[in-house]
Protein backbone atom coordinates (compact mmCIF):
# COMPACT_ATOMS: atom_id res chain seq x y z
CA UNK A 1 0.00 0.00 0.00
CA UNK A 2 2.76 2.45 0.91
CA UNK A 3 4.46 1.55 -2.34
CA UNK A 4 1.31 2.37 -4.29
CA UNK A 5 0.97 5.74 -2.56
CA UNK A 6 4.58 6.57 -3.33
CA UNK A 7 4.06 5.58 -6.93
CA UNK A 8 1.00 7.79 -7.19
CA UNK A 9 2.95 10.68 -5.68
CA UNK A 10 5.80 10.31 -8.18
CA UNK A 11 3.28 10.08 -10.96
CA UNK A 12 1.67 13.37 -9.92
CA UNK A 13 5.01 15.19 -9.70
CA UNK A 14 5.95 13.91 -13.15
CA UNK A 15 2.59 15.04 -14.49
CA UNK A 16 3.13 18.54 -13.11
CA UNK A 17 6.50 18.79 -14.86
CA UNK A 18 5.08 17.26 -18.03
CA UNK A 19 2.52 20.04 -18.23
CA UNK A 20 5.28 22.64 -18.61
CA UNK A 21 5.39 22.34 -22.40
CA UNK A 22 1.69 23.03 -22.85
CA UNK A 23 1.82 25.69 -20.12
CA UNK A 24 4.67 27.48 -21.92
CA UNK A 25 2.72 27.33 -25.14
CA UNK A 26 -0.30 28.88 -23.45
CA UNK A 27 1.82 31.61 -21.87
CA UNK A 28 3.50 32.43 -25.16
CA UNK A 29 0.16 32.65 -26.91
CA UNK A 30 -1.33 34.78 -24.13
CA UNK A 31 1.52 37.29 -24.07
CA UNK A 32 1.92 37.65 -27.82
CA UNK A 33 -1.81 38.04 -28.31
CA UNK A 34 -2.13 40.51 -25.43
CA UNK A 35 0.51 42.73 -26.99
CA UNK A 36 -0.51 42.31 -30.60
CA UNK A 37 -4.23 41.79 -30.79
CA UNK A 38 -5.43 45.29 -29.73
CA UNK A 39 -3.57 47.02 -32.56
CA UNK A 40 -4.84 44.40 -35.02
CA UNK A 41 -8.39 45.16 -33.89
CA UNK A 42 -7.77 48.88 -34.14
CA UNK A 43 -6.47 48.67 -37.70
CA UNK A 44 -9.01 45.98 -38.59
CA UNK A 45 -7.96 42.34 -38.97
CA UNK A 46 -8.82 42.22 -42.67
CA UNK A 47 -6.97 45.42 -43.42
CA UNK A 48 -3.98 44.37 -41.34
CA UNK A 49 -3.67 41.03 -43.13
CA UNK A 50 -4.61 42.03 -46.67
CA UNK A 51 -3.30 45.54 -47.13
CA UNK A 52 0.13 46.14 -48.58
CA UNK A 53 0.87 49.46 -46.88
CA UNK A 54 3.41 49.26 -44.09
CA UNK A 55 4.08 52.83 -43.00
CA UNK A 56 4.60 52.59 -39.22
CA UNK A 57 5.20 56.33 -38.82
CA UNK A 58 1.79 57.15 -40.27
CA UNK A 59 0.10 54.38 -38.31
CA UNK A 60 -0.63 52.33 -41.42
CA UNK A 61 0.04 48.66 -40.88
CA UNK A 62 -0.53 46.05 -43.61
CA UNK A 63 1.47 42.85 -43.80
CA UNK A 64 0.09 41.06 -46.86
CA UNK A 65 3.39 41.04 -48.80
CA UNK A 66 5.19 39.55 -45.81
CA UNK A 67 2.63 36.77 -45.44
CA UNK A 68 3.10 35.92 -49.09
CA UNK A 69 6.85 36.19 -48.63
CA UNK A 70 6.94 33.80 -45.70
CA UNK A 71 4.78 31.23 -47.48
CA UNK A 72 6.74 31.45 -50.74
CA UNK A 73 10.11 31.09 -49.07
CA UNK A 74 8.95 28.17 -46.95
CA UNK A 75 7.40 26.35 -49.90
CA UNK A 76 10.65 26.76 -51.82
CA UNK A 77 12.65 25.48 -48.88
CA UNK A 78 10.46 22.41 -48.52
CA UNK A 79 10.75 21.57 -52.22
CA UNK A 80 14.54 21.73 -52.03
CA UNK A 81 15.21 20.55 -48.49
CA UNK A 82 12.37 18.06 -48.18
CA UNK A 83 13.21 16.22 -51.39
CA UNK A 84 16.93 16.06 -50.78
CA UNK A 85 16.64 14.93 -47.19
CA UNK A 86 14.13 12.23 -48.05
CA UNK A 87 16.51 10.98 -50.75
CA UNK A 88 19.36 10.97 -48.23
CA UNK A 89 17.32 9.19 -45.60
CA UNK A 90 16.11 6.46 -47.94
CA UNK A 91 19.54 5.91 -49.40
CA UNK A 92 21.18 5.74 -45.99
CA UNK A 93 18.70 3.27 -44.56
CA UNK A 94 17.86 1.06 -47.54
CA UNK A 95 20.48 1.05 -50.24
CA UNK A 96 23.78 2.18 -48.90
CA UNK A 97 26.51 -0.30 -47.90
CA UNK A 98 26.99 -0.09 -44.09
CA UNK A 99 30.57 1.15 -44.44
CA UNK A 100 29.47 4.21 -46.41
CA UNK A 101 26.59 4.83 -43.98
CA UNK A 102 29.01 4.85 -41.09
CA UNK A 103 30.79 7.76 -42.77
CA UNK A 104 27.83 9.69 -44.23
CA UNK A 105 25.46 9.57 -41.26
CA UNK A 106 27.85 11.07 -38.69
CA UNK A 107 28.84 13.64 -41.31
CA UNK A 108 25.26 14.78 -41.72
CA UNK A 109 24.57 14.67 -37.98
CA UNK A 110 27.64 16.68 -37.13
CA UNK A 111 26.63 19.32 -39.63
CA UNK A 112 23.18 19.70 -38.05
CA UNK A 113 24.66 22.12 -35.56
CA UNK A 114 25.95 24.72 -38.01
CA UNK A 115 24.30 28.00 -37.03
CA UNK A 116 21.69 29.26 -39.46
CA UNK A 117 23.46 32.62 -39.68
CA UNK A 118 26.39 30.79 -41.27
CA UNK A 119 24.07 29.49 -43.99
CA UNK A 120 22.79 33.03 -44.47
CA UNK A 121 26.32 34.34 -44.69
CA UNK A 122 27.33 31.77 -47.32
CA UNK A 123 24.15 32.75 -49.14
CA UNK A 124 25.27 36.38 -49.19
CA UNK A 125 28.83 35.81 -50.30
CA UNK A 126 28.25 33.01 -52.85
CA UNK A 127 24.63 32.38 -53.75
CA UNK A 128 23.32 35.92 -54.08
CA UNK A 129 26.05 37.09 -56.48
CA UNK A 130 25.64 33.87 -58.48
CA UNK A 131 21.88 34.32 -58.85
CA UNK A 132 22.32 37.93 -59.80
CA UNK A 133 24.89 37.09 -62.47
CA UNK A 134 23.34 33.99 -64.04
CA UNK A 135 19.61 34.47 -63.54
CA UNK A 136 19.35 38.24 -63.32
CA UNK A 137 17.64 40.43 -60.76
CA UNK A 138 19.21 41.76 -57.59
CA UNK A 139 20.20 38.30 -56.33
CA UNK A 140 18.62 38.98 -52.95
CA UNK A 141 15.46 37.04 -53.66
CA UNK A 142 12.82 34.43 -52.87
CA UNK A 143 15.02 31.91 -54.65
CA UNK A 144 18.11 32.71 -52.59
CA UNK A 145 16.13 32.48 -49.36
CA UNK A 146 14.54 29.19 -50.44
CA UNK A 147 17.88 27.60 -51.24
CA UNK A 148 19.49 28.82 -48.02
CA UNK A 149 16.57 27.59 -45.92
CA UNK A 150 16.35 24.33 -47.86
CA UNK A 151 20.01 23.55 -47.20
CA UNK A 152 19.67 24.71 -43.61
CA UNK A 153 16.95 22.19 -42.76
CA UNK A 154 18.68 19.27 -44.55
CA UNK A 155 20.69 17.76 -41.68
CA UNK A 156 17.86 17.86 -39.14
CA UNK A 157 15.17 16.51 -41.43
CA UNK A 158 17.50 13.83 -42.80
CA UNK A 159 18.64 12.55 -39.46
CA UNK A 160 15.12 12.37 -38.01
CA UNK A 161 13.80 10.63 -41.14
CA UNK A 162 16.66 8.14 -40.91
CA UNK A 163 15.68 7.36 -37.33
CA UNK A 164 12.05 6.90 -38.39
CA UNK A 165 12.99 4.51 -41.19
CA UNK A 166 15.32 2.58 -38.91
CA UNK A 167 12.57 2.16 -36.35
CA UNK A 168 10.52 0.09 -38.83
CA UNK A 169 10.71 -3.55 -37.76
CA UNK A 170 13.18 -5.59 -39.79
CA UNK A 171 10.55 -8.22 -40.48
CA UNK A 172 8.52 -5.79 -42.67
CA UNK A 173 11.39 -5.42 -45.06
CA UNK A 174 12.26 -9.08 -44.98
CA UNK A 175 8.63 -10.03 -45.54
CA UNK A 176 8.30 -7.81 -48.59
CA UNK A 177 11.57 -9.04 -50.09
CA UNK A 178 10.50 -12.63 -49.47
CA UNK A 179 7.28 -11.95 -51.39
CA UNK A 180 9.40 -11.06 -54.39
CA UNK A 181 9.33 -7.27 -54.26
CA UNK A 182 12.43 -5.42 -55.43
CA UNK A 183 14.22 -3.31 -52.82
CA UNK A 184 12.75 -0.13 -54.31
CA UNK A 185 9.21 -1.53 -54.23
CA UNK A 186 9.80 -2.58 -50.64
CA UNK A 187 11.04 0.88 -49.84
CA UNK A 188 8.24 2.94 -51.26
CA UNK A 189 5.34 0.56 -50.68
CA UNK A 190 6.31 -0.79 -47.25
CA UNK A 191 9.07 1.10 -45.48
CA UNK A 192 7.94 4.63 -46.33
CA UNK A 193 4.39 3.79 -45.30
CA UNK A 194 5.46 2.26 -42.04
CA UNK A 195 7.73 5.17 -41.22
CA UNK A 196 5.31 7.83 -42.43
CA UNK A 197 4.41 9.40 -39.13
CA UNK A 198 8.08 9.81 -38.25
CA UNK A 199 8.90 11.29 -41.63
CA UNK A 200 5.96 13.68 -41.43
CA UNK A 201 7.18 14.75 -38.01
CA UNK A 202 10.62 15.41 -39.49
CA UNK A 203 9.06 17.48 -42.27
CA UNK A 204 6.99 19.47 -39.78
CA UNK A 205 10.09 20.24 -37.82
CA UNK A 206 11.87 21.34 -41.01
CA UNK A 207 8.92 23.46 -42.09
CA UNK A 208 8.77 25.09 -38.69
CA UNK A 209 12.43 25.95 -38.88
CA UNK A 210 12.03 27.36 -42.38
CA UNK A 211 9.02 29.57 -41.58
CA UNK A 212 10.61 30.65 -38.36
CA UNK A 213 14.14 31.32 -39.51
CA UNK A 214 14.88 34.98 -39.20
CA UNK A 215 18.48 36.07 -39.46
CA UNK A 216 19.54 33.91 -42.41
CA UNK A 217 16.50 35.13 -44.33
CA UNK A 218 17.19 38.76 -43.52
CA UNK A 219 20.65 38.33 -44.99
CA UNK A 220 19.57 36.92 -48.37
CA UNK A 221 15.94 37.89 -49.01
CA UNK A 222 16.32 41.61 -49.71
CA UNK A 223 13.58 42.67 -47.28
CA UNK A 224 11.69 45.03 -49.60
CA UNK A 225 8.10 45.82 -48.76
CA UNK A 226 6.71 44.99 -52.23
CA UNK A 227 4.73 41.93 -53.15
CA UNK A 228 7.14 39.47 -54.80
CA UNK A 229 6.12 38.91 -58.42
CA UNK A 230 8.71 36.27 -59.29
CA UNK A 231 11.14 33.99 -57.49
CA UNK A 232 13.92 36.40 -58.44
CA UNK A 233 12.27 39.32 -56.68
CA UNK A 234 13.35 40.44 -53.23
CA UNK A 235 10.94 39.76 -50.42
CA UNK A 236 10.41 40.42 -46.73
CA UNK A 237 9.09 37.68 -44.47
CA UNK A 238 7.04 38.05 -41.29
CA UNK A 239 10.01 37.03 -39.17
CA UNK A 240 12.38 39.51 -40.79
CA UNK A 241 9.86 42.28 -40.34
CA UNK A 242 9.88 41.71 -36.58
CA UNK A 243 13.66 41.36 -36.24
CA UNK A 244 14.48 44.29 -38.52
CA UNK A 245 12.28 46.80 -36.75
CA UNK A 246 12.12 45.56 -33.16
CA UNK A 247 15.37 47.34 -32.30
CA UNK A 248 13.97 50.84 -32.71
CA UNK A 249 10.19 50.37 -32.65
CA UNK A 250 8.12 51.87 -29.86
CA UNK A 251 4.45 52.36 -29.01
CA UNK A 252 2.00 51.41 -31.76
CA UNK A 253 4.78 50.37 -34.09
CA UNK A 254 6.08 47.85 -31.56
CA UNK A 255 2.60 46.53 -30.94
CA UNK A 256 2.18 46.14 -34.69
CA UNK A 257 5.30 43.98 -34.70
CA UNK A 258 3.73 41.83 -32.00
CA UNK A 259 0.66 41.66 -34.23
CA UNK A 260 2.98 40.39 -36.98
CA UNK A 261 4.02 37.80 -34.43
CA UNK A 262 0.36 36.92 -33.81
CA UNK A 263 -0.08 36.31 -37.53
CA UNK A 264 3.03 34.16 -37.69
CA UNK A 265 1.84 32.26 -34.63
CA UNK A 266 -1.54 31.64 -36.24
CA UNK A 267 0.00 30.45 -39.52
CA UNK A 268 2.29 28.07 -37.63
CA UNK A 269 -0.55 26.69 -35.53
CA UNK A 270 -2.68 26.07 -38.61
CA UNK A 271 0.18 24.33 -40.45
CA UNK A 272 1.01 22.27 -37.37
CA UNK A 273 -2.54 21.18 -36.77
CA UNK A 274 -3.02 20.15 -40.40
CA UNK A 275 0.22 18.21 -40.43
CA UNK A 276 -0.45 16.55 -37.10
CA UNK A 277 -3.97 15.42 -37.96
CA UNK A 278 -2.86 14.13 -41.35
CA UNK A 279 -0.09 12.06 -39.83
CA UNK A 280 -2.37 10.76 -37.09
CA UNK A 281 -5.24 9.85 -39.43
CA UNK A 282 -2.91 8.00 -41.76
CA UNK A 283 -1.35 6.18 -38.84
CA UNK A 284 -4.79 5.07 -37.72
CA UNK A 285 -5.76 3.95 -41.23
CA UNK A 286 -2.57 1.95 -41.54
CA UNK A 287 -3.33 0.35 -38.21
CA UNK A 288 -6.79 -0.75 -39.31
CA UNK A 289 -5.93 -2.37 -42.60
Amino acid sequence: MRQAAKDKCISLILLAVAMSAIASLAMIAAFIFREGLPIMMKVGVGKFLLSSDWYPQEGRFGIFPMIVGSLAVTAGAMVIGGTLSLACAILLTQFCPPKVVSILKPCIELLAGIPSVVYGFIGVVILVPAISRYLGGPGLSVLAASVVLGVMILPTVTSISVDALRAVPRSYREGAIALGATEWQTTHRVMLKAARSGIVAAMILGMGRAVGETMAVIMVAGNTLDLPHSILAPVRTLTSNIALEMGYAAGEHRRALFATGVTLFAIIMILNTIALTVSRRRARKAGQS
Binding site: L15, M27, F31, L84, V118, I122, T182, L205, G261, N272
Partner: protein, 279 residues
Protein backbone atom coordinates in the same frame (compact mmCIF):
# COMPACT_ATOMS: atom_id res chain seq x y z
CA UNK B 1 4.01 3.67 -73.12
CA UNK B 2 5.55 0.61 -71.58
CA UNK B 3 6.02 0.66 -67.84
CA UNK B 4 9.67 0.27 -66.94
CA UNK B 5 10.50 -3.00 -65.24
CA UNK B 6 10.80 -3.01 -61.42
CA UNK B 7 14.53 -3.53 -61.70
CA UNK B 8 14.89 -0.51 -64.00
CA UNK B 9 12.73 1.59 -61.65
CA UNK B 10 14.99 0.64 -58.81
CA UNK B 11 18.14 1.59 -60.69
CA UNK B 12 16.59 4.95 -61.61
CA UNK B 13 15.40 5.67 -58.07
CA UNK B 14 18.67 4.67 -56.49
CA UNK B 15 20.75 6.79 -58.84
CA UNK B 16 18.55 9.82 -58.12
CA UNK B 17 18.98 9.26 -54.43
CA UNK B 18 22.74 8.93 -54.75
CA UNK B 19 22.74 12.21 -56.64
CA UNK B 20 20.70 13.89 -53.91
CA UNK B 21 22.86 12.52 -51.12
CA UNK B 22 26.13 13.48 -52.76
CA UNK B 23 24.75 16.96 -53.42
CA UNK B 24 23.64 17.30 -49.80
CA UNK B 25 26.85 16.13 -48.21
CA UNK B 26 28.89 18.05 -50.78
CA UNK B 27 27.13 21.36 -50.11
CA UNK B 28 27.36 20.95 -46.34
CA UNK B 29 31.05 20.05 -46.43
CA UNK B 30 31.72 22.90 -48.85
CA UNK B 31 30.15 25.41 -46.44
CA UNK B 32 32.30 24.22 -43.56
CA UNK B 33 35.47 24.10 -45.65
CA UNK B 34 34.83 27.55 -47.11
CA UNK B 35 34.32 29.23 -43.75
CA UNK B 36 37.24 27.46 -42.10
CA UNK B 37 39.64 28.21 -44.96
CA UNK B 38 38.90 31.91 -44.83
CA UNK B 39 38.41 32.15 -41.07
CA UNK B 40 40.92 29.93 -39.29
CA UNK B 41 44.00 31.99 -40.30
CA UNK B 42 42.46 34.92 -38.37
CA UNK B 43 41.76 32.85 -35.25
CA UNK B 44 44.72 33.59 -33.00
CA UNK B 45 45.17 33.29 -29.26
CA UNK B 46 44.60 37.05 -29.03
CA UNK B 47 41.33 36.72 -30.93
CA UNK B 48 40.08 34.14 -28.43
CA UNK B 49 41.32 35.82 -25.26
CA UNK B 50 40.68 39.53 -25.83
CA UNK B 51 37.64 41.73 -25.89
CA UNK B 52 36.52 43.47 -29.09
CA UNK B 53 37.66 47.00 -29.94
CA UNK B 54 35.96 49.48 -32.31
CA UNK B 55 32.66 47.52 -32.29
CA UNK B 56 34.48 44.34 -33.27
CA UNK B 57 36.58 45.74 -36.10
CA UNK B 58 39.62 44.82 -34.05
CA UNK B 59 40.35 42.70 -31.03
CA UNK B 60 38.71 39.40 -30.20
CA UNK B 61 35.60 37.62 -29.05
CA UNK B 62 36.34 36.50 -25.49
CA UNK B 63 33.23 38.11 -23.91
CA UNK B 64 31.05 36.51 -26.59
CA UNK B 65 32.51 33.08 -25.91
CA UNK B 66 31.76 33.47 -22.21
CA UNK B 67 28.28 34.84 -22.95
CA UNK B 68 27.49 31.95 -25.29
CA UNK B 69 28.59 29.37 -22.72
CA UNK B 70 26.48 31.03 -20.05
CA UNK B 71 23.33 31.30 -22.11
CA UNK B 72 23.47 27.90 -23.81
CA UNK B 73 24.66 26.07 -20.71
CA UNK B 74 21.95 27.48 -18.48
CA UNK B 75 19.28 26.88 -21.10
CA UNK B 76 20.09 23.19 -21.48
CA UNK B 77 20.51 22.70 -17.73
CA UNK B 78 16.97 23.99 -17.29
CA UNK B 79 15.42 22.22 -20.26
CA UNK B 80 17.02 18.77 -19.99
CA UNK B 81 15.50 17.63 -16.66
CA UNK B 82 12.07 19.01 -17.59
CA UNK B 83 12.17 17.39 -21.01
CA UNK B 84 13.32 13.99 -19.83
CA UNK B 85 10.75 13.93 -17.02
CA UNK B 86 8.02 14.82 -19.50
CA UNK B 87 9.13 11.97 -21.73
CA UNK B 88 9.17 9.55 -18.79
CA UNK B 89 5.68 10.59 -17.83
CA UNK B 90 4.39 10.21 -21.37
CA UNK B 91 5.88 6.77 -21.93
CA UNK B 92 6.02 5.06 -18.55
CA UNK B 93 3.54 6.65 -16.22
CA UNK B 94 0.36 6.99 -18.14
CA UNK B 95 -1.74 5.32 -20.78
CA UNK B 96 -2.41 7.01 -24.08
CA UNK B 97 -5.41 9.25 -23.61
CA UNK B 98 -6.68 12.82 -23.68
CA UNK B 99 -3.97 14.00 -21.30
CA UNK B 100 -1.05 12.59 -23.24
CA UNK B 101 -2.60 13.94 -26.43
CA UNK B 102 -2.72 17.43 -24.90
CA UNK B 103 0.87 17.26 -23.64
CA UNK B 104 2.12 15.92 -26.94
CA UNK B 105 0.16 18.55 -28.85
CA UNK B 106 1.78 21.20 -26.67
CA UNK B 107 5.26 19.88 -27.33
CA UNK B 108 4.66 19.46 -31.07
CA UNK B 109 3.29 22.98 -31.40
CA UNK B 110 6.09 24.43 -29.32
CA UNK B 111 8.55 22.74 -31.69
CA UNK B 112 7.03 24.56 -34.63
CA UNK B 113 7.05 28.01 -33.11
CA UNK B 114 9.59 30.33 -34.71
CA UNK B 115 12.50 31.48 -32.60
CA UNK B 116 11.59 35.11 -33.18
CA UNK B 117 8.27 34.45 -31.40
CA UNK B 118 10.17 32.98 -28.48
CA UNK B 119 12.23 36.14 -28.62
CA UNK B 120 9.16 38.37 -28.50
CA UNK B 121 7.74 36.33 -25.63
CA UNK B 122 11.00 36.32 -23.69
CA UNK B 123 11.28 40.05 -24.22
CA UNK B 124 7.81 40.85 -22.84
CA UNK B 125 7.68 38.14 -20.17
CA UNK B 126 11.16 37.56 -18.77
CA UNK B 127 12.79 40.89 -19.60
CA UNK B 128 9.89 43.29 -18.94
CA UNK B 129 7.14 41.62 -16.88
CA UNK B 130 9.49 39.71 -14.56
CA UNK B 131 12.00 42.55 -14.63
CA UNK B 132 15.05 40.53 -15.61
CA UNK B 133 15.96 42.99 -18.33
CA UNK B 134 18.02 42.03 -21.36
CA UNK B 135 20.20 39.48 -19.62
CA UNK B 136 21.88 36.09 -19.66
CA UNK B 137 19.01 34.72 -17.57
CA UNK B 138 16.23 36.03 -19.85
CA UNK B 139 18.05 34.56 -22.82
CA UNK B 140 18.65 31.21 -21.15
CA UNK B 141 15.05 30.82 -19.98
CA UNK B 142 13.77 31.70 -23.44
CA UNK B 143 16.11 29.22 -25.09
CA UNK B 144 15.17 26.57 -22.52
CA UNK B 145 11.53 26.73 -23.61
CA UNK B 146 12.66 26.72 -27.22
CA UNK B 147 14.71 23.51 -26.98
CA UNK B 148 12.29 21.73 -24.65
CA UNK B 149 10.31 19.99 -27.44
CA UNK B 150 13.49 18.62 -29.03
CA UNK B 151 14.52 17.06 -25.73
CA UNK B 152 11.03 15.68 -25.08
CA UNK B 153 10.71 14.14 -28.52
CA UNK B 154 14.14 12.54 -28.69
CA UNK B 155 13.92 11.26 -25.11
CA UNK B 156 10.49 9.83 -25.80
CA UNK B 157 11.67 8.00 -28.89
CA UNK B 158 14.72 6.71 -27.04
CA UNK B 159 12.61 5.45 -24.15
CA UNK B 160 10.11 3.83 -26.49
CA UNK B 161 12.91 2.00 -28.25
CA UNK B 162 13.81 0.19 -25.03
CA UNK B 163 12.56 -3.39 -25.47
CA UNK B 164 9.50 -4.34 -23.44
CA UNK B 165 11.29 -7.40 -22.13
CA UNK B 166 13.73 -5.21 -20.17
CA UNK B 167 10.87 -3.67 -18.23
CA UNK B 168 9.19 -7.01 -17.68
CA UNK B 169 12.44 -8.46 -16.41
CA UNK B 170 12.74 -5.52 -14.01
CA UNK B 171 9.22 -5.99 -12.69
CA UNK B 172 9.76 -9.72 -12.56
CA UNK B 173 12.68 -9.14 -10.21
CA UNK B 174 10.38 -7.18 -7.95
CA UNK B 175 11.46 -3.65 -8.83
CA UNK B 176 9.06 -0.74 -8.39
CA UNK B 177 7.95 1.31 -11.35
CA UNK B 178 10.30 4.14 -10.40
CA UNK B 179 13.10 1.59 -10.00
CA UNK B 180 12.47 0.15 -13.45
CA UNK B 181 12.34 3.65 -14.97
CA UNK B 182 15.55 4.94 -13.42
CA UNK B 183 17.65 1.79 -13.32
CA UNK B 184 16.55 0.00 -16.47
CA UNK B 185 14.72 2.21 -18.94
CA UNK B 186 16.68 5.44 -18.56
CA UNK B 187 19.97 3.59 -18.60
CA UNK B 188 19.35 1.90 -21.91
CA UNK B 189 17.73 5.02 -23.36
CA UNK B 190 20.63 7.25 -22.37
CA UNK B 191 22.41 7.48 -25.75
CA UNK B 192 19.16 8.56 -27.41
CA UNK B 193 18.48 11.12 -24.71
CA UNK B 194 22.05 12.33 -25.07
CA UNK B 195 21.50 12.95 -28.77
CA UNK B 196 18.55 15.19 -27.97
CA UNK B 197 20.49 17.13 -25.38
CA UNK B 198 23.40 17.62 -27.75
CA UNK B 199 21.12 18.79 -30.55
CA UNK B 200 19.71 21.27 -28.04
CA UNK B 201 23.12 22.60 -27.04
CA UNK B 202 23.88 23.10 -30.71
CA UNK B 203 20.59 24.86 -31.29
CA UNK B 204 21.13 27.12 -28.28
CA UNK B 205 24.60 28.09 -29.42
CA UNK B 206 23.51 28.82 -32.96
CA UNK B 207 20.33 30.70 -32.09
CA UNK B 208 20.39 34.35 -33.02
CA UNK B 209 16.94 35.94 -33.23
CA UNK B 210 15.68 34.90 -29.81
CA UNK B 211 18.84 35.90 -27.95
CA UNK B 212 18.99 39.22 -29.75
CA UNK B 213 15.62 40.18 -28.25
CA UNK B 214 16.23 38.69 -24.79
CA UNK B 215 19.95 38.74 -23.99
CA UNK B 216 20.74 41.93 -25.85
CA UNK B 217 23.97 42.72 -27.63
CA UNK B 218 26.29 44.23 -25.01
CA UNK B 219 29.95 43.90 -25.89
CA UNK B 220 31.38 43.66 -22.39
CA UNK B 221 32.08 40.54 -20.36
CA UNK B 222 29.00 39.29 -18.46
CA UNK B 223 29.79 38.94 -14.75
CA UNK B 224 26.41 37.79 -13.50
CA UNK B 225 23.27 36.14 -14.84
CA UNK B 226 21.60 39.55 -14.93
CA UNK B 227 24.13 41.15 -17.27
CA UNK B 228 23.33 41.68 -20.89
CA UNK B 229 25.56 39.74 -23.26
CA UNK B 230 26.14 39.13 -26.93
CA UNK B 231 26.47 35.54 -28.07
CA UNK B 232 28.97 34.47 -30.72
CA UNK B 233 26.26 33.80 -33.29
CA UNK B 234 24.75 37.25 -32.82
CA UNK B 235 28.19 38.87 -32.92
CA UNK B 236 28.90 37.09 -36.20
CA UNK B 237 25.56 38.23 -37.59
CA UNK B 238 26.21 41.85 -36.63
CA UNK B 239 29.75 41.77 -38.04
CA UNK B 240 28.57 40.33 -41.34
CA UNK B 241 25.31 42.23 -41.71
CA UNK B 242 26.72 45.63 -40.86
CA UNK B 243 29.90 44.94 -42.81
CA UNK B 244 32.07 45.79 -39.81
CA UNK B 245 34.87 43.40 -40.67
CA UNK B 246 34.78 40.45 -43.04
CA UNK B 247 37.94 38.84 -41.68
CA UNK B 248 36.59 39.02 -38.10
CA UNK B 249 33.26 37.64 -39.34
CA UNK B 250 34.94 34.63 -40.95
CA UNK B 251 37.04 34.12 -37.83
CA UNK B 252 34.00 34.28 -35.52
CA UNK B 253 32.12 31.85 -37.75
CA UNK B 254 35.10 29.50 -37.63
CA UNK B 255 35.12 29.56 -33.84
CA UNK B 256 31.39 28.82 -33.83
CA UNK B 257 31.70 25.96 -36.28
CA UNK B 258 34.71 24.39 -34.61
CA UNK B 259 33.01 24.62 -31.21
CA UNK B 260 29.82 23.01 -32.47
CA UNK B 261 31.63 20.29 -34.40
CA UNK B 262 33.73 19.54 -31.32
CA UNK B 263 30.67 19.28 -29.06
CA UNK B 264 28.83 17.06 -31.53
CA UNK B 265 31.88 14.91 -32.13
CA UNK B 266 32.42 14.46 -28.40
CA UNK B 267 28.81 13.44 -27.89
CA UNK B 268 28.99 11.08 -30.82
CA UNK B 269 32.09 9.45 -29.39
CA UNK B 270 30.52 9.08 -25.95
CA UNK B 271 27.41 7.58 -27.49
CA UNK B 272 29.37 5.08 -29.55
CA UNK B 273 31.31 4.01 -26.46
CA UNK B 274 28.11 3.71 -24.50
CA UNK B 275 26.44 1.61 -27.17
CA UNK B 276 29.50 -0.63 -27.36
CA UNK B 277 29.49 -1.06 -23.57
CA UNK B 278 25.80 -1.93 -23.39
CA UNK B 279 26.24 -4.54 -26.07
Amino acid sequence: MKRPSPAAMQRLAVSFMWLGTILTVGVLLFIVAYILTLGLPHVTWEFLSQGPRLMGREGGVFPMIVGTLWVAGLAVMIAAPVGVITAIYLTEYTLEGKLTAVIRFGADCLAGIPSIIFGLFGFVFFAITLGMGLSVLSGALTLAIMVLPTIIRTSEEAIRAVPRAYREAGYGLGATRWGVVTKVVLRSALPGIGTGVVLSIGRSISETAAVMLTAGSALRLPTSAFDSTRTLALHFYILAREGISMSKAYATASVLIVAILAINLFAYWVMQRFVAKVR
